[in-house]
């Protein structure tokens, strides 16, 4: 591009002619990798997923159009409802403790003066380790005969539990791992949010005679709302797609009573173990709708009404 062209293109206003559009080719070229990859590996497959959801196909024989059959079967499939319930229960069992603990730790970390960067780095480490390795670790400590959790219980005189053989035990094991992995990440996000709150507001509250509890509810939490919204949305999107933890800890079956069966594990089984591609496509669409629904709910609850930012 010539020396003045880039400057000139910035000044061009109004409807561009064909020749002018051509003069922007460098910009379009710079953007093209993402859009080309998205078209080939994102948009096209997603559109074919929509078509596939109305078909019956095992990957080998010809595709057969079956209308809404897949969806009709889906809403009557008890495993689907079980998977949906498990996913939501696991999401609540892991997200609520994660965010509450993270908020408490962040408040404490903010008032700590020394070693804060040591804490930050150590707290973040669980988030950057191998998911599969840690899922194996957690299934080992929850193991019935030789697990550390039962060893601890026995030394306290409490009878051992069959953690990974019981529906509730499976859920506890999975959510424990998720909490361990995400508390530190969310703590750092909250800490950054806390540090962005202007100090004057706290001083003003002190002058007005507000105690620590009052300050927490009238200043800290309202100011932190956008950051909380961010963490809730991230946890929702992640939580609704839980796959590795249950798959490694209890296997493709979802474990006893299928209580570790999440919607994504259900999808994985339908598609890549049962080769029931049309049905899997219908499940994938339901996951997408679920993500949209939960994001919308979060948005409403945490943004509140009358705010448009």
């Amino acid at each position: 591009m010539s020396a003045t062209a880039a400057v000139r293109t910035r000044a061009v206003a109004g409807a561009p002619t064909r020749r002018r559009i051509w003069s922007y080719w460098r910009f379009y070229l710079a953007l093209s990798p993402f859009y080309v990859l998205f078209a080939v590996f994102g948009l096209y497959p997603m559109l074919s997923t929509i078509v596939l959801a109305f078909q019956r196909w095992d990957g080998l024989s010809a595709r057969k159009f079956t209308g809404l059959d897949n969806f009709a079967f889906l809403v009557r499939d008890p495993t689907f409802w079980q998977a949906l319930e498990n996913t939501v229960v696991l999401f609540l069992m892991s997200t609520v403790p994660t965010l509450v603990i993270a908020l408490l730790l962040a408040v404490m970390l903010q008032s700590a003066v020394r070693f804060t960067s040591v804490y930050r780095i150590a707290y973040f480490i669980p988030n950057v380790t191998s998911l599969v390795a840690m899922a194996i670790f957690f299934s080992s400590i929850f193991s019935t005969n030789f697990g550390l959790v039962n060893a601890a219980l026995r030394s306290l005189g409490i009878p051992q539990q069959d953690w990974l053989g019981q529906p509730w035990g499976i859920k506890i094991a999975i959510s424990t791992m998720i909490v361990w992995q995400w508390v530190g990440y969310n703590t750092l996000i909250y800490l950054a949010g806390l540090q962005a709150i202007p100090k004057e507001q706290y001083e003003a509250a002190k002058v007005d005679g507000a105690g620590p509890v009052r300050t927490l509810f009238s200043i800290t939490l309202p100011q932190l709302r956008p950051v909380v919204l961010f963490t809730v949305i991230m946890s929702t999107i992640g939580g609704l797609q839980t796959f590795t933890e249950p798959q490694v800890m209890v296997g493709n079956s979802g474990g006893t009573g299928q209580s570790g069966m999440t919607v994504v594990l259900f999808f994985y089984r339908a598609a890549f173990l049962d080769n029931d591609y049309g049905y899997a496509a219908a499940i994938a669409l339901s996951i997408f709708l679920l993500v949209l629904l939960f994001t919308a709910i979060n948005w409403r609850v945490f943004r509140g009404r009358g705010e448009d930012r």
Binding site: A3, P33, P45, L52, I125, A284
Partner: protein
């Protein structure tokens, strides 16, 4: 004075307790990896490091193609990271500093793609890979992830606030072309942002599990995560060996994280507070 001191001590006691909880799984993994399974199975369990680490490593190597899968994972993670850094920062710079027809529409499309769950594309994507002949090949892991919306969005935020328009104009007047300006002005100024995006991408790629499980059909040609899950499924009773594999699989991540931890944490939190 003393009251404040006690409060400070109590505060640090809680923070240190949390730190121990967060780090405990790594310590226990090392303990398991250096002992025999029989030691681990004892009651009460052995809480000290043992001398069996190299035996355990040998067992891992006997049971899975560990180095092969680690090499596969490294190839995938490194090439994905380099491609993402290049393509995302180039696109982000274009979005942040230039005007051209369709810019806003393209950007809205970019944002919308972030809401789409990966499962929505997985089945046809597998068919596409079969059509291209990429099933079983590392290309199937590298190419689809070579550019992503999150990275472009994130880098754009950075470029918008860190590079002045005048700097871009001055570079252009000095005879730098569009690409030259990107290379000589934008990239050097974006080092912290690139460091964060690079580690984020590397870790994500290193840990990716479901898609490699689906698309790498040859058991001898898998990534580390898949090899590890295979090891666990086949030899789950031999904890020491499996945990040794787990430990080895984490070491590269820990090294990468240790090298860039400060920058990474700064970046990770900045995005959330700004966005």
């Amino acid at each position: 004075m003393t009251r404040i001191r006690w409060r400070g001590l109590a505060l640090h006691a809680v923070l240190v307790l949390a730190l121990l909880v967060f780090l405990f799984p790594f310590v226990w993994t090392i303990i398991m990896a250096t002992n025999t399974t029989a030691d681990i199975y004892r009651f009460p369990p052995k809480f000290s490091f043992g001398g069996h680490f190299f035996d355990n490593v040998r067992h891992v190597l006997d049971n899975v193609a560990f180095f092969q899968s680690m090499a596969n994972t490294a190839v995938v993670a490194i090439s994905t990271t380099l491609l993402v850094l290049f393509f995302d920062s180039l696109a982000a710079f274009t979005f942040a500093k230039f005007r051209f027809p369709g810019r806003n529409a393209l950007f809205v499309i970019l944002l919308a793609t972030m809401l789409l769950p990966a499962q929505l594309a997985a089945v046809p994507q597998f068919q596409t890979m079969a059509l291209l002949g990429w099933v079983g090949s590392l290309k199937a892991l590298i190419i689809p992830g070579a550019a992503n919306a999150f990275g472009i969005f994130w880098m754009r935020q950075y470029f918008r606030s860190s590079i002045h328009d005048e700097l871009v104009e001055a570079a252009t007047l000095d005879g730098c072309g569009f690409f030259g300006t990107y290379w000589h002005v934008a990239l050097p100024s974006a080092r912290p942002a690139l460091a964060f995006l690079g580690i984020f991408t590397f870790v994500g790629s290193w840990n990716d599990y479901m898609w490699p499980l689906i698309v790498l059909t040859n058991p001898d040609h898998v990534t580390l995560q898949v090899a590890l899950s295979t090891l666990n499924r086949a030899h789950g009773v031999d904890y020491s060996m499996v945990m040794t594999g787990a430990l080895l699989a984490m070491i590269p991540l820990v090294i990468v994280f240790a090298l860039f931890a400060r920058q990474f944490i700064k970046g990770a939190t900045e995005g959330a507070v700004r966005g």
